[in-house]
């Protein structure tokens, strides 16, 4: 495969010298550029964020980084897509077990502009995210990326996996059609069979001993507030550790690999 040639990373240029008096006036593009630069400077002077951005973007990734290393970030994009489409669905959704929930989803599908499209993106995006998260986990597993010094990042990943599954479990009830209603009843009952915490967990999910009107709003709150908040924070920590520790090199490459050195020369 021909190597993709990309420009060298842009290094911030020194500030241009002021124009000589009598030089032609600035073009609008120049004015706009300058305004942008000074706005960024203004923020940076007060936050020093440019250091963090440079640390994140201009860190080196090891030689041999390949397409398998895109699975983590594509999981993140699937998560972001779920977040954005979810916000639009929440604008119309009503967690009303007496029929309002079902009606509001029907309204989204049939009346709202692009409603079914956004609903479909959210629905299929969940499958895509689950597939990607498993692929990403398989990659880190087979590459031995969970070993020293990245044990903690693996642990955060497992928490993210559990939360992703919890998202799809709580989301499945929300359309409140036959499938989702009965599948969730069975699911909550299964939770109830667990030792020790099982019965408490299912009582918590149902908001009581019976599947009632508040069950739906409880699932909704967990699905759209509680878990996404925790996940966003954990993804932030996950990415911080990725940048801090660096991503692993493919395990079959060694720095002193003479064949590779030749190839490079």
């Amino acid at each position: 495969m021909p190597k993709l040639k990309l420009p060298a990373p842009p290094i911030p240029l020194p500030k241009p010298l002021p124009k000589r008096p009598g030089a032609p006036r600035q073009t609008p593009v120049e004015t706009a550029t300058e305004a942008g630069i000074s706005a960024v400077d203004w923020v940076d002077e007060r936050t020093s964020l440019s250091g963090a951005a440079r640390w994140m973007m201009f860190r080196k990734v090891p030689r041999g980084t390949n397409w398998f290393y895109t699975l983590g970030s594509s999981t993140m994009f699937a998560f972001l897509s779920q977040a954005v489409t979810g916000v639009f669905l929440a604008m119309y959704y009503r967690p009303d077990a007496a029929g309002g929930a079902y009606e509001s989803i029907r309204y989204i599908n049939n009346e709202v502009f692009l409603g079914e499209f956004v609903h479909g993106m959210h629905k299929w995006g969940s499958s895509v995210m689950v597939i990607l998260i498993f692929l990403h986990m398989a990659r880190t597993f087979f590459f031995g990326a969970y070993k020293y010094p990245r044990e903690l990042n693996w642990g955060i990943g497992v928490a993210l996996l559990i939360l992703t599954m919890a998202m799809s479990f709580t989301g499945y009830l929300l359309p409140f059609d036959q499938r989702s209603y009965w599948a969730t009843i069975v699911g909550v009952n299964i939770n109830g069979t667990g030792p020790l915490v099982g019965p408490y967990l299912s009582d918590f999910l149902r908001a009581g001993p019976e599947f009632g009107a508040t069950t739906l709003s409880r699932f909704y709150a967990i699905h759209m507030l509680l878990i996404p908040g925790i996940m966003a924070a954990l993804i932030g920590a996950h990415l911080y550790l990725v940048a801090k520790l660096g991503t692993t090199a493919p395990p079959w490459l060694k720095p002193s690999d003479p064949v590779k050195k030749e190839e490079k020369a």
Partner: protein, 249 residues
Amino acid sequence: MNKQEKESYLREYALMKQEGKPFFPYAVAKDGAMAAVVMLSIILMSLFLGAELGPKADPTTTTYTPRPEWYFFFLFELLKVIKPAELVQLATIGVPTICMILLFLLPFYDRSPERRPERRPIATTAGIFTICAMGYLTYLGAHAGPPTQIDMETPPALVAQGGEKLEQFEAGKQVVTQSGCAACHKFGENGNDGPGPDLTDIAARLPEQAIARTLINPTAPMPSFQNLQEEEPEKFDAMVMYLSQLKGE
């Protein structure tokens, strides 16, 4: 990994990193291309597969199929593999919990410094086995739709008797087939063998009242049919009557 191994790893890694390229724009370009593929697939799936809404949820209904999202199929199938009732607890909550704990602690019990998959035979085999097992269970789950058909013979005594009893029997059979019982129970040749017990000869094991009690107040994961009993008692009674005639073939 001992101290020396840790240090040698860090040294080697630092060299690999030196030979590498900056994250921006090289890795960002790949990540961006992959993100575009992901977004495109989501959009295409949404356009072509849509977001169908089933019939409205109805707690008193008798026509439902308790089917989870496809990526939970493997859990549901796991329920069926583990038969004895004492072990159901273990299957439903125990196995996933143990798997998650094992996964979480992986870096702490797999402490060898080796990272190449082909030189970690145990880890690699276990990983491939897990993937195959989950794939196989998902495949089973996808193909094990709850059949809405029960071809068990009507007891000859009932046929001879005819009349109201036979009618109730047929009505009960219809309620049972429509209620998705076969998703968890076996009836003669039909239905899934698990997670619930075989109901082919349920009447030989349980008296009629006990069957009714089970339906109203079952052991999880079986759903309760109390609503049906309260709102449509004749359907419920028909179902119980039907079950109380199943004495095996």
